[in-house]
Amino acid sequence: MNFDFAGKRIAGILTVLPANERSFMDDMKNFDFPEEKSLKLKKVMGYDRHRIVTGETCVSDLAVHGFRHLFDKGLVKPDELDALVVVTQSPDYFMPATSSVIQGQLNLKHDMLCMDISQGCAGFVIGLIQAFMMLDQASIRKVALVNADVLSRKVSARDKNSFPLIGDAACITIVEKTDDRQPIYANLKMDGTHHDVLIIPAGGFRTPSTPETAVVEDVGDNNYRSKDNLTMNGTAVFNFVQVEVPPMIESLLQQAALPIEQVDYFMFHQPNKFMLNKLADRMRVPRDRMPSNVVENFGNASGATIPTNITLNLAEPLRNGTLMLCMAGFGVGLTWASMVMPVGNLAFCEIIDY
């Protein structure tokens, strides 16, 4: 499915990271896993350290901290926000929506549309598409898009396939109308027949959490997790990404009539460095134009990795100029989505700690 927009822009991006940092090598000491092998993995996959929340920190805590920073610094005026879109797979509650919780904690105006979207690794592009559609309304001039997850709380600490690389984060992206009519192109696809390859099996209404679902089981390769924990079929996800993402980008750039050389950076979701390098090679994109250092610095924080990638790697050029960015997310659903647009002259593009 293709989309195109005009007269919209990203005004600023803020990443909020938990201050709690863990080391990959320290984490791996908790597993029955040779140190030499961990060092190889560290090099190949780009795992080094990751940020995860402590205690019962929720998505709304990270997001409210970020909004207060923006309000206190005068970078965003609360009354200017006409809509709040929260994209998360780890909401504070089943009900109400986390966007409503955040709106209430910040005492934002009532003349406002609050919406949650259940999306993960493709959630930044999906959220931007939703925000841009909202901006087609006369009454909506500015949208706050929040991509946030605290999925470390749903990962088994005894699952070496997930725990050492999971990250938590919240990103706030302010999207607004502009007189500049430069086109924005996007596309997305979804395949729910594979909804079970990335899943938290228990805890919803299909399989409520019980003492039985909380029992930690041996799932092979010295990994242990319960049905309340996040589980991923890594091989299936890897192959899905390698098969679907390159043609999606090719189709997007054709739609935009944009040669690959005219894209300054490919800011993709980052499960690991190996996967991104393979995508770059397949698409014949120089690896330095597809930054892959988010996972090594902060871990994989689902839909927050693309905006974190931007705040980590492009803050200076995007505050002082404009770049053509191609963004792509892929994961839970399964969902894969991409967008190409000029991004620049940002009022803010920074990372803060919670």
């Binding site: 190889k40 396939n161 390769d221």
Partner: protein, 76 residues
Amino acid sequence: MKTVVEVLKGIRPEFDFATSEDFIADGMLDSFDVITLISELDQSYGISIAGTDILPENVKNLAAITQLLRKYGIAP
């Protein structure tokens, strides 16, 4: 240049890879080992094996790995 067996032994020195027809089913390579194997093959032979070729059936035994490398012009 390392042989395929030398690359495999560098990853899991405890196994005799000549005796297995399915390294994954026999528990000799886990998913992390497969990624490490592909990375080592890339480096050893100066190639970049496509992500779409990183499939269990392409690394399940010595014959499969040899066939995979031939696709990239390598005759190990």
